[in-house]
């Protein structure tokens, strides 16, 4: 440093200080990299464009879907006659009482966080992998089949459980499909399953497609909502064809299930279906199916009576145990496709067509899985038996509410053993066919949602 003539000591010191400060300034300016801090916790958006991440993309979509289905099943089951609310969160009680039209109910609302993610990610996975395949960079077509099946699962889930849904993309709000147009979700699922079947027509793919087509036919029975259909039975040719084709490809008592783990369970409000059911104990098996402990509502024994024999039903014991006595109670299997469901589809189609023998054959194929005596027309009517077998064989699979509506199972009473416990002025009682509405968080966040919902509290 040069000392200028006439410069006072304080001024010299000040000049020195300025240099010191200037040197310190270089920490932030000349060495700008100190401000460039990496994020080691997450991957950047570009990761989804890398073909080597194809497996990670599909697995992410599958894990997201499992979480979404787990989250959606919890409130859905509470609203049906599959379970009752025995815990502390009154929002389950509201559903148990048939109050399914309230967009403020915390559980469908919380579930929709995961459902929205899973739907978007499922589409992303399909689009990305189709792009990789088009570019010749997808090394394993099985990944694409998984992506298609995953897409079908979440689209079926939404259409089975919600009255309406918007389709948005990241920050771009999308319009709602509309209550009367929700069957397009089944169409999307079918389209993807067609492509999957073109690659690998296995039992899982064909069974999923049969389920999708059958669900669409049920949806058509109940929409527009309002009354119990005069003829509840469904006979869908496409579903029958797929179920027939799927059966030979399904060994033994075939189930295709998805599961969560402790790392992707949870819906932001409760802890996921298994946790809420088996661990926290907000829900318990419906008391007309099981004996419950009077203190804690633990499942003491399955007591559901086979309507044919009047004895305790082995099928009920087996199917309820899949959830209620799962090896990992927090993460029970969530069945998406089963050989039993294929037989149920075929049995119902036969019954609808007046083919009692066909009905009996398929029903008895299911009963044989659990050593139950064959049905030959004695005892319950075939339609009663169909209703019962669907309730038991598809229990906790997210299908029951529509069956209750179409079979007219809407009253039971308030008592602990009455099922369902829908109140006289509840949405479920007054508006047959209504499912969950677009929940409050989505409504608040999405300015594109239009129309006055038919289903209301």
């Amino acid at each position: 440093m040069t000392h200028h003539k006439g410069q006072t000591r304080p001024t010299r010191f000040a000049a020195g200080a300025a240099l010191v400060v200037a040197a310190a300034a270089s920490v932030f300016t000349a060495c700008g990299s100190i401000l460039d801090v990496d994020n080691p916790n997450n991957a950047p958006a570009e990761a989804l464009d890398n073909p080597s991440a194809a497996a990670s993309i599909v697995i992410g979509a599958e894990n997201s879907t499992a979480r979404a289905v787990s989250s959606a099943l919890t409130p859905y089951t509470a609203a049906t006659d599959e379970s009752i609310w025995v815990g502390s969160r009154d929002a389950y009680g509201q559903l148990d009482n048939g109050g399914i039209g309230d967009p403020n109910n915390e559980y469908p609302d919380a579930a929709f966080f995961n459902v929205g993610e899973a739907r978007w990610l499922a589409e992303q996975a399909i689009a990305k992998l189709e792009g990789f395949e088009k570019d010749g960079k997808l090394l394993d077509d099985a990944l694409l089949v998984r992506a298609y099946v995953n897409g079908a699962i979440i689209y079926n889930t939404i259409a089975d459980i919600w009255d309406d849904t918007p389709i948005s993309d990241r920050m771009a709000a999308g319009k709602n499909v509309g209550e009367q147009n929700m069957s397009v979700l089944y169409d999307s699922a079918t389209k993807w399953l067609d492509r999957a079947a073109a690659i690998d027509p296995n039992g899982r793919v064909l069974g999923m497609r049969a389920r999708t087509k059958f669900s669409k036919a049920i949806w058509a029975k109940l929409n527009p909502p309002g009354t119990t259909p005069a003829n509840p039975l469904v006979n869908d040719a496409g579903a029958v064809a797929d179920a027939t084709a799927a059966l030979p490809k399904m060994p033994g008592d075939f189930f295709f299930s998805i599961e969560t783990t402790n790392q992707n369970v949870g819906d932001g409000s409760g802890g996921g279906f298994g946790f809420e059911f088996n661990n926290r104990g907000e829900l318990a098996v419906s008391p007309d199916l099981a004996q419950l402990d009077p203190d804690d509502f633990h499942l003491v024994a399955v007591t559901a009576k086979d309507p044919v024999t009047g004895t305790v039903d082995n099928t009920a014991k087996k199917m309820i145990a899949i959830v209620a006595q799962a090896e990992d109670g927090n993460n029970p299997p969530m069945i998406q496709v089963s050989k039993r469901e294929m037989h149920l589809i075929l049995a119902e189609a036969a019954l609808a067509a007046g083919n009692n023998a066909g009905f009996d054959t398929n029903i008895n194929a299911i009963r044989a899985f659990d050593g139950m005596p064959a049905y030959a027309g004695a005892g319950p009517t075939r339609i009663q038996l169909l209703n019962y077998e669907r309730r038991i064989n598809l229990i906790f699979q997210g299908r029951r509410l529509s069956d209750m509506y179409r079979f007219g199972v809407t009253t039971g009473g308030i008592g602990i053993n009455g099922q369902p416990r829908w109140l006289a002025n509840s949405t479920a009682r007054k508006q047959i066919g209504c499912l969950f509405p677009i929940p409050i968080t989505e409504r608040r966040a999405n300015p594109e949602i239009t129309g006055d919902p038919v289903c209301k509290p």
């Binding site: 304080p10 010191f13 200080a17 300025a18 010191v20 400060v21 310190a24 920490v27 932030f28 401000l35 460039d36 080691p40 916790n41 997450n42 991957a43 950047p44 958006a45 990761a47 989804l48 990670s56 993309i57 697995i59 992410g60 979509a61 894990n63 997201s64 979480r67 025995v86 815990g87 502390s88 009154d90 929002a91 309230d102 403020n104 109910n105 915390e106 919380a110 966080f113 929205g116 993610e117 978007w120 990610l121 992303q124 993309d169 990241r170 920050m171 771009a172 709000a173 599961e259 783990t261 402790n262 992707n264 409000s269 203190d295 509502f297 990992d328 308030i414 109140l423 608040r444 966040a445």
Partner: protein, 1086 residues
């Protein structure tokens, strides 16, 4: 890396001290003398400890000891000016003539002062400066010497208008959230930033992101600081004062100054204290129930050992039974001494509390409410040369905390005891075959083995079982700082600070293998454990130059330029597993499906600042300054942000012409400034997270990203005055402030159907606030035998969200319907909205209201309100509460959208005083209040009145019994139904209904009675000082609030950021009332 930092810090410190010591040894006392004397309080003659005596221009000084004595060595042999200062007293300046090699005696009497305009502060000023020169307010809190205060959180409470502490439940070891002038951010932390002697420190709280007991019992890292070591705390309340701290300072700054030591021979201070702690049981309603059948009544009579009659409500104190009188012990010792060139202060403190939790009536308890803190501090200050000062500080804290699950946690023994239904109590699980003539009952209220003695419902568990769950935290904390000051000439000095704060916390939540001793709980009965470390490292680098000079005899100048940087790194590794293979196992690696957690976050902030303060004739002062800030959040290419400030202070009473004797001091001031708050480290990025599942780890959406993120900018204008009357024996301070937060970071919720769950921050909102702060202090009596010093303060707060930038309103706590706080345009943040009953029709109103004779019931489901006659008819036969309650029979006025009130008090404040009598006796007390438009949600009431899992309040038991009793008349049932709907019905689908009540309160926060022995008495045990204090904390509560306590809250002391942490206010969710604490302490000085 961390250990390297520690080693380097230690090495630098050791080298600096060695060099200084060498210089000291070589120093020759040439041409110097000694000044010594005693400082006493004017009026009482009481010797004053801790008085600062400095020699102007010589950079030397000392502090008085307990006898008020001081001694300054190496004072230049000439006429020097001594400055004598002590917080709470008017400073004195006097010239003395020092002769080489001689001892000069100078005694001082300091006059108590209710105003502190001459006090020197340093926070946010760039350097030491008298308060009167600042255009902004700055609060100074000096620890009351004998107050019942165990933590810095308690020390801050009620001491400064506008600063409030928000406790949670009074659980052992928990800290408080701190708010200064309300909330300046919707999404970012509303906690002030905290410094200790210039070093930015970790001021977060809670356990960790995967572990928490439910809200209560969550600690504050602020409380790691040993309160014994605190000399004073300076508080900057907002942007106008905190501009020089730049980004992060918009919620204010708290700077803790620790004791630096006093010169003289080594002096020991010892303190031993013992406290008793008890929850006020008068705030805990007993559990009520009633039998509905004769057989049930017979069984209950057997169980409870008294006659139970059908439809006659009876009660049991189930919650109070869980608690006993807790205890806490404190042992503290400090040592101080030194000479004019070196002073030191060393302190050690051990605090152990075993709180009131006692477990349940049966079985053993794993859960505990214990807190221990071992704290050590060493401060050394050196003056190696007359131009150089070195200061080194090191503080270590080891704390251990254990707490049972609590608050809004269904797996809490306290919650389940609150929900207990004495009418459902039984010992069936001790008598599974139903063959025991005793019904499994061992003695009244106790089972022979397993049972349901609390009558809980569901699989959550009994209190017996849930006391098998324990949340723990162990913390090792090290704060070190090194200051360097070089004063080449009296007008100029350079200062630098380097500091490190490292916190290593080990957190765990553990539930035992087969803790389901009553065969009720289903929650991971084979055990579970979560472990989560949280390691915080904060590095501070600070350097500045202060150049003070007088341009003319009238115009003075003080220029400050400097730079400051903070590097923060947080790592959080952890894991979880459950289903242990056998008893005795308590490690997370032993269970099934182990899950690993890991999270790393680093942020870098820094900036430059400059400030010029001009003074005119020592009565007009103007300040201009600015800070230019950088932050890693915005990346290296984003540039910085400029925060300006300007202020003016005019002190007419310092003008020579002032001649209004009664008004001894008067100052008016105004300040304008900006500060900021930056978003999180990675909020700008679009990212995908790992989502694990059955087939492996995949990618899932996480953060939408916003590359245009900026800090939110808080602009504050404040103006006020201080007035001192009658020689400053009465002081009045008043401040009005007005704040606008622009570019407010709003967590915009994009459609869930778009795939991203996480709300994205955007600078789109605006929030406004203003307030008034008043403080009055009066030295009413000041005689040798009696001294009365009274104070009162109050702060008014108004705040409103003026814009959410088009984003939808946000509900606090997401989908959970019971918390009714919202962020909505046009309302104060956190405002309560929920269910309110349909109201009587106003004139001309025909729909959506109750006509005369109608009740807000729709029992027939026709969508119309029923008439009283209809309801009476419905109730002609016995009816259960369930029939009345079941969804949609109660009519609301506006869904869940009715205004339920304002959760933030309009007014907060405190009053109290110190009363000294007979020379040796002193009473200190403080009352704290909150009030105005202040509403609290009693979720506990909602449950105890209405939830089918509780319904055990006395009112509900009475109403329920009347409705069900066949002997009741229809009119009695009608009256009960009215009480039910107008006062008791609550929860989904009526969230908010009958759950809110006014929450104004006054609490007797602090009281102490101290006897200080005269020096002669103390000398009999060879002590310099002896005092005995009887103290009490939270001794009484006056409130209209219907719930447990209007201060408890569901959220607890959180990590600091986020909407829930900021705005889950005024929610009492199964909390306990704040405990009363009574203690006895003995202090000895040698």
């Amino acid at each position: 890396m961390v250990s390297q930092v520690h080693r380097r810090t230690a090495l630098v410190t050791a080298l600096a001290f060695a060099a200084a010591a060498a210089r000291l040894a070589a120093q020759q006392a040439v041409g110097v003398g000694v000044v010594e004397g005693t400082v006493r309080e004017a009026g009482t003659g009481r010797p004053l400890e801790g008085v600062q005596i400095g020699v102007t221009g010589a950079n030397i000084g000392t502090v008085t000891n307990g006898r008020g004595a001081f001694r300054i060595q190496d004072v230049p042999a000439r006429t020097v000016e001594l400055r004598v200062r002590l917080v709470g007293y008017s400073p004195v300046t006097r010239s003395v003539v020092v002769t080489s090699g001689q001892v000069k005696t100078a005694d001082f009497d300091l006059q108590q002062s209710a105003l502190q305009l001459e006090a020197v502060v340093t926070t946010g000023t760039g350097g030491a400066v008298e308060v009167k020169k600042l255009g902004n307010t700055i609060g100074t809190i000096e620890p009351p010497k004998y107050a019942p205060i165990n933590t810095p959180s308690e020390l801050l409470q009620g001491k400064e208008p506008g600063l409030v502490g928000l406790p949670s439940s009074g659980m052992t070891g928990e800290g408080a959230r701190i708010r200064i002038r309300g909330n300046a951010s919707l999404s970012q932390s509303n906690e002030p930033i905290v410094f200790v002697d210039g070093v930015r420190v970790n001021s977060s709280g809670d356990f960790s992101f995967n572990i928490g007991a439910g809200g209560g019992g969550s600690p504050s890292r602020l409380d790691d600081i040993d309160p014994v070591t605190i000399d004073r705390i300076e508080v900057l309340k907002g942007a106008a004062a905190a501009t020089l701290y730049g980004t992060e300072a918009s919620n204010g700054v708290i700077q803790i100054f620790t004791k630096k030591g006093t010169s003289g021979p080594p002096r020991w201070d010892l303190n031993v204290a013992q406290d008793a702690i008890k929850y006020p049981t008068n705030r805990l309603e007993e559990n009520w129930g009633y039998a509905t059948r004769a057989g049930q009544a017979d069984s209950l009579s057997k169980f409870w050992g008294r006659t139970i009659t059908p439809f006659k409500p009876f009660s049991q104190p189930m919650v109070a039974d869980l608690f006993e009188t807790g205890k806490a012990s404190t042992v503290a010792a400090s040592l101080t001494g030194g000479n004019s060139a070196l002073t030191y202060f060393a302190s050690g403190r051990y605090y152990a509390e075993d709180g009131p939790w006692a477990g349940t009536r049966t079985g053993t308890t794993t859960a505990a409410d214990k807190s221990t803190r071992a704290q050590g501090t060493l401060n050394v200050n050196m003056l190696p040369t007359s131009k150089t000062r070195l200061a080194g500080r090191a503080a270590y804290t080891n704390s251990r905390l254990e707490t049972p699950n609590n608050s809004n946690n269904i797996f809490s023994p306290i919650t389940q005891a609150l929900f207990g239904k004495p009418d459902l109590a039984n010992c069936r699980n001790s008598d599974p075959d139903g063959t025991d003539p005793d019904l499994g009952v061992l003695s009244p209220g106790r089972c022979k083995s397993a049972g349901n003695a609390y009558g809980v419902q569901g699989t959550f568990g009994t209190p017996n079982e849930l006391q098998g769950i324990l949340t723990k935290q162990g913390v090792d904390r090290y704060i070190a700082g090194l200051d360097f000051q070089y004063t080449p000439i009296s007008e100029l000095n350079f200062t630098g600070t380097f500091g490190v704060d490292y916190t290593s916390s080990q957190n765990s939540s553990f539930q035992e293998f087969l803790y389901n001793v009553d065969h009720i709980t289903a929650n991971d009965t084979a055990g579970a454990k979560t472990v989560q470390d949280r390691n915080d490292r904060e590095i501070t680098l600070d350097g500045k130059m202060n150049w003070s000079r007088n341009f003319t005899t009238r115009i003075s100048s003080s220029l400050v330029v400097g730079a400051q940087g903070f590097i923060s790194r947080i790592t959080q590794p952890g894991g979880f597993s459950h289903n242990f293979p056998g008893p005795g196992i308590a490690v997370a690696s032993a269970g099934e499906e182990p899950v690993v957690y890991d999270r790393i976050e680093e942020t870098v902030n820094g900036g430059f600042f400059a400030q010029e303060q001009l003074g005119w004739a020592d009565w007009v002062f103007a300040t201009v300054g600015a800070r230019y800030d950088y932050a890693s959040t915005f990346g290296e290419n984003a540039g910085g942000v400029l925060y300006p400030k300007i202020s003016l202070s005019i002190v007419p009473t310092s003008h020579p012409s002032w001649n209004i004797p009664v008004l001894s001091s008067f100052r008016i001031r105004a300040a304008y400034g900006q500060s900021g708050r930056q978003p999180g480290a990675f909020d700008k990025l679009t990212t995908f997270q790992a989502l694990n599942g059955t087939s492996g780890s995949g990618l899932a959406p996480f953060n939408l990203g916003n590359p245009n993120l900026d800090p939110e900018v808080s602009t504050e204008l404040e103006a006020g005055f201080e007035a001192g009357f009658w020689a400053d024996r009465v002081g009045l301070q008043a401040t009005y402030w007005d704040r606008v937060v622009d570019d407010l970071l709003v967590e915009k919720q994009y459609p869930l159907s778009g795939g991203f769950q996480t709300r994205q921050l955007s600078n789109i909102g605006q929030m406004k606030a203003h307030g008034v702060e008043l403080s009055l202090r009066g030295l009413v009596v000041n005689r040798p035998t009696m001294n009365i010093d009274l104070f009162a303060n109050g702060a008014y707060l108004f705040q409103k969200i003026t814009s959410l930038g088009g984003a939808a309103e946000l509900k606090v706590s997401g989908s959970y319907p019971r918390y009714r706080n919202f962020l909505r345009e046009g309302y104060d943040p956190g405002h309560l909205f929920g269910a309110k009953l349909m109201q009587p029709c106003r004139s001309g109103q025909t729909a959506g209201c109750l006509q005369a004779g109608q009740l807000p019931y729709d029992l027939d489901g026709d969508g119309e309100a029923d008439s009283e006659a209809d309801v009476r008819s419905f109730l002609s036969t016995p009816t259960s509460l369930g029939d009345l309650f079941n969804g949609n029979v109660i009519l609301l006025e506006n869904g869940l959208n009715s205004d339920l009130g304002k959760p933030t008090p309009d007014w907060t404040g405190a009053w109290g005083g110190t009363f000294t009598f007979f020379r040796n006796w002193r009473v200190y007390t403080l009352f704290e209040y909150k009030g105005g438009n202040y509403t609290y949600t009693c979720l506990t009431c909602g449950f105890r009145n209405a939830s089918t899992r509780a319904r055990n309040s006395s009112a509900t038991a009475r109403v329920g019994a009347i409705l069900q009793d066949p002997a009741s008349t229809a009119d009695q049932r009608l009256a009960a139904a009215k009480e039910w709907v107008y006062e008791l019905a609550a929860l989904t689908p009526y969230d908010g209904l009958n759950q809110n009540s006014p929450a104004d309160f006054t609490r007797w926060r602090e009281l102490s009675l101290t006897y200080t022995a005269s020096p002669n008495v103390a000398a009999k045990i060879r002590a310099r000082e002896l005092s005995i204090t009887l103290s009490g904390r939270n001794l009484a509560l006056w409130t209209k609030y219907v719930g447990t306590d209007p201060e408890v809250n569901a959220i607890g002391r959180t990590l600091g950021g986020g909407r829930d942490s900021n705005y889950l206010d005024a929610v009492d969710a199964f909390n306990l009332p704040l405990p009363r604490r009574v203690g006895l302490s003995v202090r000895l000085g040698y």
